[in-house]
């Protein structure tokens, strides 16, 4: 990609450099949008149920592979609509059978169980769809560049940003304006009181889990179109999602969103100036945030304990 920019030859050195920077910032924003989508789902589950869902990456991969399987029958658009809810359905089953008994226990157990699930998911996707990466077809017209100057502005990338923005906007709207969203927010603050007021906490947690997994499935379909599809796609995205939550601040979904976009851009910039630190830089950033503000950018006081 960088080589292509260097060969482009339009304008002077400074212009070229600015295009490289712009390209990487834009790329960082897109990757950050994935982190954010994934981290928002993780955050939802963590805030309400206190479970770190290590299998989130596995659900993401599953969503992507489901879409891959469905595309020949119902096309890309059909898969984009159908695969995420299917993933969420599977998430609901897993939650009901395995995760529900662990609520209220030492967080160690939820983490260990989902850790094991992540192993199983990765292995099963490998068994069914093979260890090699598979081509993931998105409609051809989406792959054309929208601008001759800014070649990286392909239709798919712009389209993806729109979908992510819509999904995030939708999530925040649901949380703010619907009865379910209100209950989730209230439950995040004080689950006992919400329960006393007659809300079925079990159902609430299930639905909340389902929403989180839906986001993971959606992120999977979108990511597969951009990054290609292999069984490790989820494992590669989960760590940065943790960083996004920590940087953004535990308990704040807005913080998670900002954290995700931020670490995306930061690692994009690192790719320009210090390529070998592309991955490590976000952890350095996390260290700095913890040093200055242990609860994260928008984290609530007291959540860290």
């Amino acid at each position: 990609m960088l080589a292509r920019v260097a060969d482009g030859g339009a304008g002077g050195e400074a212009w070229r450099m600015s295009q490289v920077v712009l390209f990487n910032v834009f790329n960082g924003l897109i990757v950050g949008a994935f982190y954010a989508l994934m981290a928002l789902g993780l955050s939802l589950i963590l805030n309400l149920s206190g479970v770190i869902n290590f299998a989130h990456g596995g659900f993401l991969a599953l969503g992507a592979y489901l879409a891959y399987t469905l595309i020949p029958y119902i096309g890309f658009w059909g898969a984009l609509i159908v695969a995420p809810p299917l993933t969420a359905l599977l998430g609901l089953i897993v939650e009901r059978l395995l995760i529900r008994p662990l609520y209220g226990q030492d967080p160690l157990y939820g983490l260990l169980l989902t850790f094991g699930l992540a192993y199983i998911f990765e292995d099963v996707t490998r068994m069914i769809w093979g260890a090699q990466s598979v081509p993931f077809q998105v409609p051809g017209w989406l792959m054309t560049s929208l601008s001759s100057q800014y070649f990286f502005l392909t239709g798919y990338r712009v389209f993806m940003m729109i979908i992510v923005a819509a999904a995030v906007g939708g999530l925040f709207a649901v949380l703010k304006y619907t009865r379910l969203g209100m209950r989730i927010r209230a439950g995040t603050r004080d689950l006992d009181t919400v329960s006393t007021l007659g809300v079925n906490v079990r159902v609430l947690r299930s639905l909340n889990f389902g929403i989180g997994i839906y986001m993971a499935g959606l992120a999977g379909v979108l990511a597969a179109g951009l990054l290609g599809l292999s069984p490790t796609i989820g494992a590669n995205l989960i760590m940065p999602s943790f960083v996004a939550i920590i940087v953004g601040g535990l308990g704040s979904l807005l913080g998670t969103l900002i954290g995700g976009l931020m670490i995306g851009v930061v690692s994009g910039l690192a790719a320009v100036y210090f390529p070998s630190a592309t991955e490590a830089v976000i952890y350095v950033m996390m260290g700095l945030v913890l040093l200055v503000r242990p609860r994260g950018l928008l984290g609530e006081e007291g959540r860290v304990h």
Partner: protein, 316 residues
């Protein structure tokens, strides 16, 4: 709970460990497997110093294990260091890293602590992965092997002799485990358990919580890095997987599987886990599913581990 209070169990563990290379081959194992059990057992017991006895959930101990491994390997490869100084260097590097990261996370608890330790572990993974020229990148650090140990009056040939290396590893294991038992029996160790049982009350009683948790974290990482250094020596090789988060998860499951409220539990967990991993990975390609299933089954059916179950069985 502590080592001193179960003399029968202590004696049994000591005897089993002393003769492991001999009974191991009788049940279809081999000496290297015995050494791996001792090394992983040390790692799991070190983690449990923090997890089981201080009640702090670290999910990133592979980082310090791997730093110990890389430190020792690089000391031998680049500095021509002897075996003992090489282990020493690995431990120093890992402990300094633990001191710095410990200072950043010492105020966090519970899930948040776990999440931050997982994430921090990845820094070292990516450094080892990316810094090809020094670490060998993804291929790992090769082109070196463990050297005979020269005591001045005698030479211990540990390179070509599997059993000699086993007893060398066992001696180091014994020193580390003895030190941890001593620490847990000291007033410091008691206050760690007090933090686990009720942090707020411990704080009211004047225990400097942050300082103690930090110390416990550093001590735990120090001993885990000894295990890491031994692991590199065992394989005459190390690669970025020695630092990766899945190994951290394996340490935690070993501790839980054996019983994290008991001193020897993690060793038993490590023995079961290592033997199972060895068996499964040589019989099926889908070993990941089997290991994953072990995690799920342990959490759902043996959350208190083997020793925890035995103990409650004895009481009933």
């Amino acid at each position: 709970m502590s080592a001193a209070r179960a003399p029968a169990l202590n004696a049994a563990v000591c005897l089993l460990l002393l003769f492991m290379p001999f009974w191991m081959s009788a049940i279809g194992g081999y000496t290297e497997l015995a050494t791996r059990i001792v090394v992983m057992g040390l790692a799991a017991m070190s983690l449990n110093f923090l997890l089981g006895f201080t009640g702090v959930l670290s999910f990133g101990h592979a980082a310090y294990f791997g730093l110990g491994a890389y430190g020792a390997a690089m000391a031998i490869k680049y500095l021509d260091a002897g075996t003992i100084p090489a282990i020493g260097l690995g431990v120093v590097i890992a402990t300094i890293a633990a001191m710095i990261i410990g200072a950043l996370i010492v105020r966090l608890r519970g899930v948040y602590f776990a999440m931050v330790t997982i994430a921090f572990g990845q820094v070292f993974y990516f450094i080892a992965f990316r810094w090809n020229a020094v670490t060998g990148g993804d291929d790992g650090l090769t082109g070196w092997h463990r050297l005979p140990i020269d005591f001045g009056f005698a030479r211990l040939e540990i390179f070509n002799n599997d059993k000699a290396f086993y007893y060398f590893a066992l001696a180091i294991f014994a020193i580390c485990v003895g030190a941890m038992a001593k620490l847990l029996d000291s007033p410091f160790g008691r206050s760690l358990v007090a933090i686990r049982e009720n942090e707020r009350r411990a704080r009211f009683l004047g225990v400097p919580i942050e300082w103690h948790v930090w110390l416990s974290f550093v001590i735990s990482c120090l001993f885990v890095s000894v295990a890491g250094a031994l692991y590199a020596l065992l394989n005459n090789f190390t690669d970025p997987r020695a630092l990766r988060f899945d190994l951290s998860g394996n340490f935690v499951i070993m501790a839980v599987l054996g019983g994290m409220r008991s001193f020897w539990g993690p060793l038993i967990g490590a023995a079961i886990f290592v033997a199972l991993q060895d068996y499964v990975s040589s019989h099926t390609q889908n070993w990941m599913s089997v290991i994953g299933l072990v995690f799920v089954l342990v959490v759902r059916f043996f959350p208190r581990g083997v020793l925890g179950m035995l103990r409650s069985g004895a009481k009933a």
